[in-house]
Subunit: 162 residues, 2 copies
DNA sequence: CGCCATTCAATTGCACACAACTTAATTGTG
DNA sequence: CACAATTAAGTTGTGTGCAATTGAATGGCG
């Protein structure tokens, strides 16, 4: 009666398409605006973290962004080639690589200050709406991450627990 | 005064990271569940459309999903290699390629019926919450798409015209 | 001290996304 | 009909994202 499988499949088409599309639309708007700075969207995310922390090992950077070295290593190489960051093996722990801003990378922050305003203008959302949506998305991410851990390959989650 | 540039940059870090992370978290949960069906997340989106329409030219498929042939061509080739769809040049218009489900592709829908329920379980969201979030995201996408068109390369649109 | 499990970064392989370009077919216009 | 403009797929090149593997370094333990 209430929401049979067919309807769920249709609804699923809508929600997962919506999130996918929203993510790519966002990406597209950032792409246009960030082109002026010579950054891609993920590169901008990395820079945002570095502007807050100035220097971080790759591991920490990955925790902030939920990205692993497979994604970060080539990305950081490009940022280094662009002269925005330096990477150097930590003296304390030779396994770790410290990422730090160059002067050029630090200076880029000044030009990036106008980005959020332009994005906000594109969305038409105000600060409160942005915050509300962010809270909703974080909720979702937390739930999804927990579920991904609980159900690695699709075992029936019947029991749950812990 | 209220919300200076620095705060906007910090807020931007949060919202764009949140959307990016939510999208990837969603992708990750789907990945786990879709592995049973041998589909990736974008392939699942294509199949959802085909299960509704049965046969479509690549162009229409792209409009439904906001994807271009650069993405769809190789993806459809993989679906064809997997035996789920056939692609054949339209007799009416030789430029166009019709994508249609094979019997195997049609049959896969039966196994896919359980996917949305498992996703819903992962999010902990009910149908109404899903619908609300979807509406919000669509709003965002519409605004972003409009903005992307209005501001292709970021130049001030003051003059316009040729 | 020697050895093994763990940790971190990098690399490899695969699959999107998307811009830019190519090729083939169709349409519009004179 | 001829020819330029348009349209549809496909191809190429770049940049993620992620699983799996590799290789170097560290830490724990007998």
């Amino acid at each position: 009666m209430n929401t049979p499988d067919d309807d769920w499949l249709r609804l699923d088409q809508q929600i997962c398409f919506s999130l996918h599309a929203a993510s790519r639309a966002f990406n597209g708007v950032y792409r246009g605006i960030l082109k002026d700075l010579g950054l891609t969207y993920p590169q901008y995310l990395v820079m945002l973290v570095l502007w807050e922390h100035d220097e971080l090992p790759v591991k920490k950077l990955g925790e902030h962004l939920r990205l692993d070295s497979g994604t970060l290593s080539p990305l950081l190489k490009r940022l280094e080639a662009a002269g925005l960051v330096r990477r150097e093996r930590s003296a304390r722990d030779e396994r770790s690589v410290e990422v730090r801003l160059t002067e050029e990378g630090t200076a880029l922050r000044g030009r990036a200050l106008q980005v959020p305003r332009r994005i906000a203008a594109s969305t038409g959302f105000g600060p409160d709406e942005v915050r509300a949506l962010r809270a909703r998305l974080d909720e979702l991410t937390t739930a999804l991450d927990a579920a991904a851990l609980a159900e690695p390959t699709g075992g029936s989650p019947a029991d749950g627990r812990s």
